[in-house]
Symmetry: C2
Subunit: 231 residues, 2 copies
């Protein structure tokens, strides 16, 4: 773990609790559906929708656009037809999500020693809004949008290192998802798995440390700050 | 001034005092030269060096590269030949500069109501380092590097608005230089002139409010926060 200069943090699930945040907003806007189930089904379409971009089946599209397309499909499947304003507000649910309880304290400690970057597939505007609303102390926002390539495409990680003028091996990627860390490692980054057992809500199994390959595994950002303080 | 959502701040001269910061570091590294004069002569090459990129006489080059080329020319003109390490440290002088006394307070107040972005011709890594070292509370870093186009090219300003998903007219560009505000206005942004009489040191005349066209003119970030609080 020596030689690290930048900590790049995944956001959805790793730094903020998308499940609770989206389910709460769905409950407000679509009072007749199972909000948690709806949030989960929406998120299920996340990785496949980006794969269409990554694998060249469509041109670059912003995450808001992918979220909107997934939402429209899901609403039709549920036999729902809310108005345009409601659909727009549902897409914006992903712009305002609560931080996990340890995120503020752990990130604040990590920032004392490292450059702290948000590195997410969320768009630059989405991430700026979300990080500001959650009062998270990032030094900079680094979106996949800047590379026009979604994680786990190696270009997304390497663009982050290039913009911060460091070698890929000087970046520690922190994520709650094995697929994200696999992509980071393939691009030459170091990897920290942050186990978030409740990330997918009460009815789904989140990635667990035993299943994931990473340089280090922790249960919170606070624990990561402690581990790195001993390096 | 209504309808503004983003405040985009120029950095060198507007938010930080490049003259004092660079001169202090030149005095340390090149003790036999007139440090203030050297800093001014180096800065004189700034706009012309970027014009070569803007006007297509050379490909995109990072500001660090332009600063290094200008430095090498200037050292030769002064008959100086410091070693490579000294030259590198001189280029890095532009990465660590002191904030003007009003910047922290004024920016903190502006951030309560607006998305606050650094929008400079400095590289993304340079700006991230500089903003972190000066403890300035920006929500995001927006470098000309992200557009690969230097201000006052309209593309630099429009890319900033696009990344933050706002219309150009929803962005207020704050700068101490008329040429920057002229570029911002041509790109459709709103403009605030921040008068910094000491920006170029004691022997040079900085841009003054009477010479500059802008939607509003102020003498500090604190005054700008006050003016906008009345909108």
């Amino acid at each position: 773990m020596d030689g690290i200069r930048v900590i790049a943090c995944d956001i959805f699930g790793t730094t903020v609790d998308w499940y609770t945040g989206v389910a709460d907003q769905v409950a407000d806007l679509l009072p007749d559906v199972d909000a948690g189930g709806f949030a989960s089904q929406w998120r299920d379409k996340y990785v496949p929708s980006m794969a269409n971009v990554r694998e060249g089946r469509r041109d670059w599209a912003y995450l808001d656009t992918l979220h909107r397309e997934s939402l429209d499909e899901l609403l039709e499947r549920h036999g729902l037809d809310p108005d345009e304003d409601t659909r727009r507000r549902l897409v914006l649910a992903w712009h305002r999500l609560p931080a996990w309880p340890d995120s503020l304290d752990g990130l604040t400690r990590l920032r004392e020693r490292y450059t702290l970057a948000a590195l997410s597939n969320g768009g630059f505007a989405l991430l700026t809004t979300l990080v500001k609303a959650a009062h998270l102390p990032f030094d900079c926002i680094l979106s996949a949008e800047l590379a026009r390539a979604y994680k786990p495409d190696p270009v997304a990680y390497r663009t982050a290192a290039r913009l911060l003028d460091v070698e890929p091996g000087e970046v520690l990627m922190v994520a709650a998802h094995g697929w994200d860390l696999d992509g980071a490692r393939a691009a030459g980054l170091r990897t920290a798995f942050l186990e978030r057992p409740g990330e997918k809500g009460p009815d789904r199994r989140a990635d667990r440390a035993a299943d994931v390959t990473a340089d280090v595994s922790v249960a919170s950002f606070t624990e990561l700050a402690e581990v790195l303080s001993r390096v």
